[in-house]
Each structure stands twice: as C-alpha cells, then as structure tokens.
Assembly symmetry: C2
C-alpha cells in the first residue's frame, strides 16, 4: 500500500514538474505535402516550390502556392502547399473538412497514410487523383532529445496537454515526437484550437 | 495539514463519484432562434414554425426551415431554425463559423446577447438585420434539480467533462444549468465535438 502511495505521489510530482514549462502551440490549418512527381503534374514540369515563410520546425516552410482538394461530396479551395517535397503526397485536414469533402478517415500520425482516404488534387497545370493520403493528423508535440530528457518523456509516448483559460481544455492522446532536428512545438488542428479559442503561438502545458 | 489532506481526499472522492454516471452529449450545429416578429418578416406574416423533429430538451424542436446568415465577410447558407420562438432572435455558431462570417465574438451563455455581434438573417420572404445576437454558446450541461442533487452541483456551477477515447478530451469551463424542465444532456458545438471525434449521442462524464 505504501509503495502504491509512493508511486502515485511520484507520478503526481512528475506531472506537476512537467507542467511548469510553457510549450508554444501553433495551429495547423489544412495543408498539403507533395511528392516531386505530383508537384510537376500540378504546377508544370520542373516547377520548384518557393518559400512564403518559414515554419518553426527547421527546414519546413509554407510555399507561395495552393491547390484545390476535391472529395466525393465537396471541394476545398486554396489548400496551402508546404515544403520541402516528401516521398508521397499527403493532405492533412480537420475532421470538419472531412465532412465537407465527404470522406471517412481515422485520426492518424503524420506519414501513416496506407489505406487512408483519397481524393483529387487540382493545380494550375493539371490534377492528380490520389488513392490515399488524406488524413486527420493526430495532435502532437515536437521536441529534441534534450527536451525529452527534461520532461522525462520518450519518442511516441502519449501525453496530455492543457490550454489556458478561458475555455480551457485538456487534450489527451497527444503524441510525443522526439528528434534533434525538431523545435519544441505543439501542433493542434483548427477544430482543436477553435474548441478552446486558442490563438496561434499561445503556450500550452503538459498535464 | 491533515485537514488539507481530508479536503483534497473529499474532493477527489466527490469527483470520482460524479464521474460514474454517463451523460448523453448532443452536438449543437449552428442554429437560430427567432422572435415572432423576425419569423414573420423572414417567412411571411402569420407564418408558424413546423416541427421537423423534437430535441431532447422538452418543448424544443428543430423546425422544417432554415435561413441564411450573412456576416461582413461571408455567408453561411441553410442555418436551421429551432422552435419555439423566443423574445429576441439569436444565432448560435461555432468559432470556426465566426471566421467565415468575419465577426468577432466572445464565448457566451445562451441568451446573453447584449453587445454581441450582428449580421443579416435572410429568409424566403425577407431579411432582417440584427445589431446583436450572434454568439458562440458556452458548452453546458442541462439537468434537473434531482440530477443536481445526485451530482452535488448547483445552477451556474462550472465543471469539467471528459469524453471517451480515442482522441479524448477533458473540457473545462462547462456551465451547469439546472431546471426541472430540463433533460440531462451535455451540449457541445461542432468545433468541440470534432476536436475529440465525438459522435452525436455519445456519453460523456464529469471529471
């Protein structure tokens, strides 16, 4: 019994300690990562993405261009293309967007697209039908191994994140992603941010 | 110190006890309550709302008709009119909708519309400009005094509500509304429901 109490007390103290450090939270609006091949079809052979602005994660950027995303039920116009290109095209949308598009999809970790929903990507030079690649990305926190040590967390661990009042929320099922190329940053999508009136760049806390 | 521990233990036991009982949660999509006067302007003098289906709250119903809602930036078509009529017209939208409409609004308790955003309601027989009445409704739970006694809660108390996994969330800042005419029911809006992939009619728990 006393060892149970010690374990519970230890867990509470660990949570309180982790919860002291602010983590910047940015809101992922719907966006698309393109393969080099699909980029060429959508924007013309040899087209290179131009940077509009850097994202917080090193090397990642919002490009100057958008594509339209067509699902079986509806169209979403002007979905921002992020760079650099990836090995496979992937659109990350909110659950709200899936109702507009008319697709069914589970929440997935970014990159886990096998068997996910498909749709049509429409660019100024052509269009591409993807049989899979439209997902709702699981909420997550990027951090370096140094941050992970400080928080006593490991890659792929699941944590809880609290937002600030008013209208605060504790998000459970938040994935930790550890890599020394990352910046410390929590990513929520627009549904999650709008559910707690969170503004881009606000701080959130482990809970 | 021992009285502190007793108080904390009591609070924990109270929360655990409250958290045992499932509460049905329905999702409030954007909707409009109309005054008799505005109903006449939008649908024609003497028009009476017809029931499409009952809502869980006794006497409340979804009507057969919709109106369009115009804000300074954008239009939202086919917003469901709920009945019966109220003393003042009021549109309840999600924070996502406020960006579409181009309005700024705080989260408010239903009925608290003084100084809130305005817009244009467009019906088949005419339109009405409202100077206020468009709000994002605060998440809330309806309950009878008997439920309130069971949960040891009072009208207007603020509680936390947990949704079920996967993608679970603990919503803080949930308003308790107690009235013997109410049915036990939690209301979340579409942003809140889509942030935790909650389906209409799911159970949630006090936390």
């Amino acid at each position: 019994m006393s060892s149970d109490i010690a374990a519970i007390t230890g867990e509470v103290l660990l949570r309180l300690d982790r919860g002291k450090y602010p983590i910047v939270c940015n809101i992922s609006n719907r966006h698309i990562h393109l393969s080099e091949k699909d980029l060429g079809i959508l924007f013309g052979s040899g087209y290179k993405l131009e940077k509009m602005r850097d994202l917080l994660q090193p090397g990642e950027f919002a490009s100057t261009v958008t594509v339209d995303l067509q699902g079986p039920k509806g169209l979403i116009k002007k979905v921002r293309v992020l760079g650099p290109c990836r090995s496979q095209s992937q659109a990350e949308v909110s659950l709200t967007d899936t109702f507009t598009l008319g697709i069914k999809t589970e929440v997935r970790d970014s990159g886990d697209i096998a068997g996910s929903a498909g749709g049509r990507l429409i660019g100024p030079a052509g269009s591409v039908d993807i049989s899979e690649g439209i997902i709702v990305a699981r909420r997550h926190i990027h951090m370096t191994t140094a941050h992970a040590r400080k928080f006593k967390l490991k890659d792929k661990q699941i944590v809880r994140v609290r937002t600030l009042p008013p209208r605060s929320v504790v998000f459970e099922d938040v994935l930790v992603r550890v890599n020394d190329n990352y910046a410390l940053e929590c990513h929520l999508d627009t549904d999650e941010a709008n559910a707690c009136s969170l503004k881009n760049g606000s701080y959130v806390y482990l809970s």
